[in-house]
């Protein structure tokens, strides 16, 4: 499957450790930037409530055996979703879809849905 990359915004438009919502291929996508400037793209839909809100969650880290992992807390009911793969850190049966994402010359581009 060929990937179409959609530019959504410039890296500087997302404050460190926060997210924005973008409209990509007819879907609401939450794009996050962490403290190392790495970017992540997750579905904006919170799987617990079905609301399109994840981009508005607080971004932070949790200590795990594998080291500190970045997550976003749902702004509605606070479930923590891992930025890298969308899995809920408190309940692995909950998962948010993730998207390919890259930064090209300062511009963030979202690609295909991963699953």
């Amino acid at each position: 499957m060929s990937i179409t990359w959609t530019p959504v915004c410039h890296l500087s438009q997302i404050a460190r450790e926060s997210g924005v919502a973008a409209w990509v291929h007819g879907e609401a996508v939450a794009v996050f930037r962490d403290h190392t400037d790495a970017v992540y793209a997750l579905s904006n839909i919170d799987p617990k409530t079905g609301a399109s809100v994840l981009s508005r969650g607080i971004v932070g880290t949790r200590r795990r055996v594998e080291g500190d992992v970045g997550f976003v807390a749902s702004p509605l009911l606070k479930q923590p979703y891992r930025l890298s793969d969308g899995v809920c850190l408190d309940d692995e049966t909950l998962k948010v879809a993730t998207y390919e994402v890259r930064v090209v010359g300062g511009s963030i581009e979202v690609g295909a849905r991963r699953d």
């Binding site: 959609t6 530019p7 959504v8 915004c9 438009q13 997302i14 404050a15 460190r16 450790e17 926060s18 924005v20 919502a21 973008a22 409209w23 990509v24 007819g26 879907e27 609401a28 794009v31 962490d34 403290h35 579905s43 904006n44 839909i45 919170d46 799987p47 617990k48 409530t49 079905g50 609301a51 399109s52 809100v53 508005r56 969650g57 607080i58 971004v59 932070g60 880290t61 949790r62 200590r63 500190d68 970045g70 997550f71 807390a73 702004p75 509605l76 606070k78 923590p80 891992r82 793969d85 899995v87 692995e92 049966t93 998962k95 948010v96 879809a97 993730t98 849905r113 991963r114 699953d115």
Partner: protein, 868 residues
């Protein structure tokens, strides 16, 4: 024929009441009908807290039986009725019916009993000084006494208390509070002669003087002078004192007259002589409380009386309980003065040794009495710093071994003392709360995770066991035991905020203010780990907001804000927001009401009147918020905080402007307070209320701060809330003028903001403080820590720095950039949001089960599986 027995209780004071409670609880009422006869006009009240009556809104506040009856069919309560005679042979008592006394010939009704319990308490002793019958002479025992003292003080300038014991000092403090120049005259060479030694008494004098009381020790009163009413005191071999009020507090005498006339045995020094089961020389008559003298000794404290009450209930149920003496430890309840005396304070035990620490400059005197071999603590005296009392007293009663260097128990922290062995080292049977006889073991059982109560904090344990609910002196130990328990069982009630900070909110607050940090990064680098989370970030945002007063969306802090703060509105289940325009005090003009209606109509918002006297507009999309705020600002509104840990509303009743009962302008005051404290960031949300009279239509006592109008000003109540665990606010101070009301409120709120835990509302916060409400009063009203002006200055900074954060947002393009549906398609509303209609208004369509727009990936359709 009935086989039920009649049990009559004479006296409805603290101990009589406890007796009835225990009788009902333990089922004595299955076999006995109980008749309680009390001479006072009201049911039993908390005599120990009598002095607080001056600050209370009325006698009900002290009542131990606010409902006025036991609500039990087998218990009858007859108040305002004196028992005038007792006939043990006939097994009857005679009632002097107060109301009918004038017409009754030869006394009132005669009542037969099967069992009789005397709980008549004690009466103040008035020494035979000439002039003691003059107007202006009082004792200090009942609510009526206090009413009379207050009335007399209204046109007096000076007062004298005769007697420098525990009660006398308490009475003196009350006179100070009533605005009198106050003297204490004590015959003994020192204050509190029964509890303190010379050095302790001397140290105490300096503290008492600071309260504004002039102390005269080693002085005898020759006469009370005056013509009809008191004008002064003549002292033996000294100058007299001018005064119009005299309060006798020269000790108490058991009220044993009924027993004496009935021929029952009395103790040598007064009091009804009883055995270990509290039975008098007549097998059907018992005596408990201050009128009783078990083994010939009377006890002038409430805790031994409570024990006696339990013992008699036990005996009547066939049990073998016995009263074998009591802990006579005392701690002075005077605000701001720490004094405690416990165990063998005078080192009367043979061979006992004394360890003394004293610091005249700081006004501290501490003495420990230890056994000759230095292994056991026998007693002690603490003046000026009684922090160790909670740990030391149980050491005496449980007899556990002293640590290696016992002096560490009384040395100040900087000199090697301090935490020491603490309450944690006590054995389970050690009694921690002597007022309510709660042992360490019972406290541990209450917090046991596998037990039935599973309490999580001091407030829970108080409610469960009663520990700490009477004089409060044990709360520190209770807290230490709970914390130690959780620390040992590894339960995460550590005060750490979250995995990123080992500090509590209060500690973080101090760290931030000491270092002057302005950003999360600086704080987490220096004191935390990782990159924070949804717990510590908003907490730090709130701390920074209370200290810096910058906009919540200032770039360095915007990403820390909790959901609602981050967008200055309340998020709803479908990702839309609600807007609640501020309506201070609930007062609104018709024009503004119309504007709200127009805004709601134009943006198609669901509209509802809230429980907080405002109007909530629901269903605003993120990108609509600035336009809605713009309309509101234009009409002279600001949006309001229904979000954030901040002030919500100050609810008001209509007050004196319209209401025929109102005595103050409650609406005006509510508006002033709401405008003053709006925007204040706090550990939890804050609510206020102001009522125009005691009818309390604004439900102010259900708020964190409640203000209720009086003829003379305002009563200020604190620590109320509704919600899951409702609490009534308690009186902090009475009859305040506007200026003092605001000053106390400023201090109270800032003290709370500084020291409360995250998400701790005012009621549990007050409970968690050592000393509880009294502590708050010390800090806020008496300014015992000298923090008052600092707290006020902080509040002034908040007030001066307040700005409309919604208006500032719409005026700043950088902040406005957040309020778009999509960063790359700002003009496209999020199709995931849609509404149904119900009762002519919108309501969110349930996204999870109702696909709205395709192709939108829905939560329910996302594959479940291992991480990719």
């Amino acid at each position: 024929m009935s086989t039920r027995q009649r049990l009559v209780v004479v006296g409805h004071g603290m101990v009589g009441h406890r007796f009835v409670q225990a009788a009902v609880e333990r089922g004595l009422t299955d076999t006995h009908d109980i008749v309680v006869v009390g001479e006072e006009p009201r049911p039993a009240y908390d005599r120990v807290a009598l002095t607080s009556y001056f600050a209370a809104s009325g006698p009900e506040e002290l009542s131990l039986l606010p409902e006025g009856s036991y609500g039990h069919p087998a218990v009858e309560l007859r108040l305002a009725t004196e028992v005038t005679a007792l006939d043990p042979q006939a097994r009857t008592i005679t009632l002097g019916d107060g109301a009918m006394a004038a017409g009754a010939v030869g006394g009132g009704e005669v009542l037969a009993y099967d069992q009789l319990v005397l709980a008549t308490g004690a009466a103040p002793f008035v020494p035979p000084v000439p002039g003691r019958e003059l107007d202006g002479c009082f004792v200090y025992r009942t609510i009526e006494d206090l009413d009379a003292i207050r009335a007399a003080s209204a046109h007096a300038t000076a007062g004298v208390v005769i007697g420098g014991g525990l009660l006398g000092l308490e009475a003196a403090n009350a006179l100070v509070q009533l605005g009198l120049e106050t003297h204490v005259v004590e015959m003994a060479p020192r204050l509190m002669p029964v509890q303190l030694d010379d050095a302790g008494g001397r140290t105490l004098v300096s503290h008492i003087a600071k309260l504004g009381v002039q102390v005269h020790t080693g002085v005898a009163t020759e006469a009370i002078t005056g013509d009809g009413s008191v004008s002064g005191l003549a002292l033996r071999g000294g100058d007299g004192i001018d005064a119009q009020v005299v309060v006798f507090s020269a000790g108490i005498r058991p009220r044993d007259a009924l027993a004496r006339e009935a021929g029952l045995d009395l103790a040598e020094r007064g009091g009804v002589l009883v055995d270990e089961q509290c039975r008098t020389s007549d097998a059907r008559i018992w005596a408990i409380g201050e009128c009783a003298a078990p083994g010939g000794r009377m006890y002038g404290l409430v805790a031994p009386g409570y024990d006696m009450a339990e013992v008699v209930v036990d005996a009547l149920l066939g049990g073998a309980g016995a009263f074998t003496g009591a802990d006579m430890s005392t701690k002075l309840k005077l605000l701001g003065v720490d004094v405690a005396s416990f165990g063998d304070a005078f080192a009367t035990t043979e061979g006992s040794l004394e360890l003394v620490y004293s610091d005249a400059v700081a006004g501290v005197y501490k003495k420990l009495v230890v056994s000759d071999d230095g292994t056991r603590l026998l007693g002690g005296i603490l003046v000026g710093d009684a922090a160790a009392y909670g740990v030391l007293r149980p050491m005496v009663s449980s007899g556990i071994a002293l640590p290696e260097n016992p002096e560490e128990l009384i040395l100040p922290g900087s000199r090697g003392g301090g935490a020491g062995s603490g309450a944690a080292a006590l054995p389970d049977e050690a009694q921690i709360c002597s007022c309510n006889n709660v042992s360490k073991g019972e406290i541990l059982a209450a917090v046991d995770e596998s037990g039935e109560h599973r309490c999580e904090d001091v407030a829970g344990v108080k409610a469960c066991t009663g520990a700490g609910t009477t004089c409060g002196s044990c709360v520190g130990s209770v807290k230490a035991i709970i914390e130690d328990h959780f620390a040992r069982t590894g339960k995460e009630v550590s005060r750490a905020l979250c995995e990123h900070f080992a500090l509590s909110r209060q500690e973080l607050f101090d760290v931030v203010s000491v270092h002057g940090y302005r950003t999360f990064d600086a704080i987490v680098d220096a004191h935390g780990s990782g990159r924070g989370c949804d717990i510590c970030k908003p907490a730090i945002a709130s701390i920074l907001a209370s200290q810096l007063g910058t906009h919540v969306l200032a770039p360095e802090n915007a990403t820390l804000q909790d959901t609602n703060d981050a967008y200055l509105a309340n998020i709803q289940k479908n990702g839309t927001y609600s807007v609640v325009p501020r309506i201070p005090g609930g007062e609104i003009t018709p024009e503004k009401l119309i504007v709200i209606g127009e805004v709601a109509r134009d943006f198609d918002l669901y509209t509802k009147i809230t429980g907080g006297q405002r109007i909530d507009l629901f269903g605003a999309r993120l990108e609509q918020l600035p336009a809605i705020w713009g309309r509101l600002v234009e009409a002279g509104f600001e949006s309001g905080h229904a979000y954030g840990k901040s002030l919500r509303t100050v609810k008001s009743c209509v007050g004196s402007t319209w209401c025929r009962y109102g005595v103050q302008d409650s609406v005006g005051m509510a508006i002033a307070l709401e405008l003053r404290y709006r925007g204040l960031r706090s550990p939890h949300k804050l609510k206020g209320g102001v009522s125009g009279c005691a009818r309390e239509c604004a439900e102010a006592r259900a708020k964190d701060f409640g203000v209720i109008a009086t003829e003379k000003g305002w009563n200020l109540y604190v620590g109320g809330n509704g919600g899951a665990t409702p609490a009534h606010a308690q009186l902090l101070a009475g009859d305040l003028d506007d200026e003092r009301l605001v000053r106390y409120l400023d201090r109270f709120l800032m003290y709370y903001i500084r020291t409360a835990d995250r998400l701790q509302r005012t009621a549990p916060w007050i409970d968690s403080l050592e000393g509880g409400l009294d502590r708050v009063r010390e800090v806020v009203v008496d300014d015992a820590l000298g923090l008052g002006s600092e707290l006020e200055a902080e509040m002034s900074r908040h007030v001066a720095g307040y700005f409309d954060e919604w208006r500032a947002t719409i005026e700043d393009p950088a902040k406005l950039a957040r309020f778009v549906s999509f960063v790359n398609a700002p003009g496209t509303p999020d199709p995931n949001i849609s509404f149904d209609v119900e009762r002519d208004q919108i309501k969110p369509r349930n996204q999870a089960s109702h696909p709205v727009v395709e192709p939108v990936s829905l939560g329910s359709s996302i594959g479940v599986g291992a991480p990719a």
